[in-house]
């Protein structure tokens, strides 16, 4: 096409991966060139992460050969893959929680400006590491993170940015981004997309996995669609309309779900929060009616998660009152909340939701154990049927209920967690980034489940960084900033601008707050 020769960055031939009898990836031939952002889309469990794992050496392919920048990759050697120039931002970002941010950023390598001598190769250059870590963070647009603090003290979005910076620091040929924006707010997400563009401009290849199709359209130079492990479409940006992508992913036409919340009938107030304070939160006043879906928007660190956790009783409250179902509610443990009929889907799947080594069945029944037991005794048949129902309702894709949940794809894990709580039939559901990593089809399905539950009287409080999501499903959006609600916007006032300005805590935000209050 152009006069410069197109350089191939990645070449895959006959690559496949099977787990047991199931082939989860099967790619006869694929070439990626430098200077392009290639988006990979597909349903949950389509094999996207597996493909990235194969490229980055973390997954050993069953068959096939891979070349990175013309050199062959030995299967299952992450270190070699890295040396060849592949950097992966994994879906479950693997950071060493107890090590400092700086050390995590330079994990497995030395500062670039370190000398080549034996001394420099062996002796840990603390100052250099710190300096380079700061520079890296600045490069990806994160400022003010103390690089000496252990990573485990930072919330998920910051960790996600650290993970991106870590990959960026390798100056890779191939930069793989596996759902890098799923836990980020719109502004940070935009930063990440800019990084991807910059990398492609500089002659690198970018592989971008995402379930937010608008992002995919905004950034991709080429779109690959995976379905059950096979490459089913290779689209140019022009071809890659949202409908087209969905059709290719699902294999059939998807009726655009009706993304409006159920018309709210006047019902009793389910949750009423007054002057609620906790560490880094409040004071918060908030009401949620039965059958109402209330969104919580805000920038990262604005206290959305804390609000949900404090209501749940997972974080100690320092003041204020909560009235739930007309009664004063003072949970001292999440167990109290569960008993009262509250459920929480936390934002960090791996740390806060899953029993990674245990079966899907155990995971989906975790919150309903007492309910499905008869006088404390679990009946295997009922247990299995119950789990099967949850799995089926949520359309979790798996081989068997008994496989460890960590073997599921990220999106399917999220669906399993969701299923756990819907099965508990709570009266109030607290959702923290509920559809993180869930594919479009399943998302619509989850929204549908939320809607129908709301119709039956479930009150829902959703914290999400994805504004579209909130705008689709919520009756009302509360915007938080610095631990307090600064605006309360009813559905007819929805607009990205309004929410963002309020979240940024500017005067416009204050105005919106006033306006919101006036309307409420």
């Amino acid at each position: 096409m152009t006069d410069t020769p197109v350089e191939t960055a990645v070449r895959l031939r006959d690559v496949s991966k099977s787990y047991g009898l199931v082939k989860v990836l099967d790619i006869p031939c694929l070439d990626l060139v430098r200077g392009q952002i290639v988006a990979v889309v597909g349903e949950n469990g389509a094999g996207k992460s597996t493909l990235m794992g194969v490229l980055s050496g973390t997954v050993t392919p069953t068959t096939g050969s891979i070349e990175i920048a013309g050199r062959p990759l030995q299967p299952g050697r992450p270190d070699q893959s890295r040396d060849l120039g592949v950097a992966l931002v994994a879906q479950e970002f693997p950071l060493v929680g107890r090590l400092s941010v700086a050390e995590n950023l330079l994990l497995g390598r030395r500062p670039a400006d370190a000398g080549g001598g034996l001394f420099a190769r062996l002796i840990f250059d603390r100052r250099g590491t710190r300096a380079e870590a700061r520079a890296l963070l600045a490069e990806v647009g994160v400022t003010g993170v103390d690089v000496d603090r252990p990573v485990e003290r930072f919330p998920v979005p910051v960790r996600q940015m650290i993970e991106i910076a870590k990959a960026w620091g390798h100056h890779p040929v191939v930069l793989i981004l596996d759902e890098p924006t799923s836990s980020l707010g719109p502004v940070e997400a935009e930063r990440v997309l800019d990084l991807a563009r910059a990398h492609a401009r500089a002659g690198g290849a970018v592989l971008f996995i995402g379930h937010r199709l608008d992002e995919v359209r905004a950034v991709a130079d080429r779109v690959l669609v995976l379905r059950t492990g096979k490459l089913v479409a290779d689209l140019t940006p022009a071809e890659a309309s949202e409908q087209r992508m969905i059709r290719e992913m699902v294999g059939s036409e998807l009726a655009r779900a009706d993304l409006t919340p159920p018309s709210s009938v006047e019902r009793a107030t389910a949750l009423s929060v007054r002057d609620l304070t906790a560490d880094g939160l409040g004071p918060v006043d908030l009401d949620v009616k039965a059958g109402e879906i209330v969104g919580v928007a805000g920038l990262m660190g604005s206290g959305r998660s804390r609000l949900l956790h404090t209501i749940m009783g997972a974080q100690p409250r320092t003041g204020g009152t909560v009235t739930f179902e007309g009664r004063d509610f003072r949970p001292r443990h999440p167990g109290d909340a569960v008993e009262a009929g509250i459920g929480l889907v936390p934002e960090d799947r791996k740390v806060q939701s899953l029993l990674p080594a245990h079966s899907v069945r155990w995971n989906v029944t975790l919150a309903t154990l007492r309910g499905i037991s008869r006088r404390g005794v679990l009946r295997p048949r009922a247990d299995k049927e119950h789990a099967a129902r949850i799995v089926k309702d949520l359309g979790v894709r798996l081989h068997s209920q008994e496989q460890p949940v960590s073997d599921l794809s990220g999106g399917n894990q999220q669906k399993a967690v969701f299923g756990r709580w819907l099965a508990a039939e709570p009266k109030l559901l607290l959702l923290d980034e509920p559809t993180r990593g869930v594919d479009v089809g399943a998302k619509a399905e989850i929204y549908h489940l939320i809607d129908s539950a709301a119709e039956r009287g479930l009150a829902v409080l959703v914290a999400s960084s994805e504004l579209e999501e909130l705008m689709w499903i919520c009756h009302r959006i509360v915007v938080m900033s610095h631990g307090r609600p600064v605006a309360d916007i009813p559905r007819d006032g929805f607009g990205k601008e309004v929410i963002m300005t309020a979240a940024a805590g500017t005067q416009a935000g204050a105005a919106a707050e006033l306006k919101g209050k006036a309307r409420a």
Partner: protein, 338 residues
Amino acid sequence: MTTSTAAVKARGDAEGGGRATLARRLLETPEVGVVAACVVVFVALALDKSTFAGAVNLQGMGFDLAQYGLIAIGESLVILTGGIDLSVGALLGTSVILMSWFNVRAGLPPVLAIVLTLAITGAVGLIHGLAVTRLKMPPFVVTLVTYTVAQGVTLAITSGTSIIGIGGTFSNLGQTYVAQVPLPLIVFAVVAAVAWFFLERTYAGRQVYAVGGNPEAARLAGIRGDRRVVSMYVTSSLLSGFAGIFVLGRMGVGSASGVGVGWELSAIAAAVIGGVSLVGGQGRIVGIVAGTILLELINNGLTTLQINSNYTNIVLGCVLGLAITADRLRARSVAKRS
């Protein structure tokens, strides 16, 4: 529409799993290795030495098994929660002494002596549990303290002199046969069955696994993990005291000679050999029991075969090493093929 497609696929996949043959299933069960090892060792010993599989020796092994098995189960329950209990053995020794002391020196009837001792061991377990959950102290250190103190208490009570003249109730408990099966063995079987039922069939048992597997996830799912953890420590200590009854009954004397000290290592080993993960949240009763049986078979076999005592430890270690290595190789080949 989407959903239905996915669901259909899921079902297809699930059936794919279900089609696996029984043999394959068996091979994939983690406990199969240790159970197989038990069978192999047993058959080999029985062929080599006819007296090994004789009723008398089997009965003898039954008594041993009950002692070690009871504390191995207690130990495993604690390990499942993600902790460890170093005190099971020392506490057993102390409870032997406490029971004899209450019975002989304090002149209490045996039943009362047993009840008091169990109350004390239960209290010790409670302290363990609270220290671990409330004070967030490392279980290793908490139970190490008890390990040390318990030995000290034994010595302080006895000054090294065994307590003789214990009531007949004890030897009734410790030495009776029911239809030629030692009573302690029956009790052990019952305890194992109860533990199995608890872990596999009650929601509380499932919650124990959840707490051991991911405490934070369990907490946010509304599980009161602390209660589960505390109750497992209490159970472990109670089982130590309980095993102490049979040890005392069998020996007929409150021996001050470090009975039980070091048994925690056997208990942990039995658990680990049986597939219990020291990280917590993983392992099943059948494996634990098989692990205990394997250790007992090896130990008894060494005596039966009249191995030169200079080499028993070497042989013991090697057999253990072989059994575990074989199991790992099996697990690896399963992992490879999947």
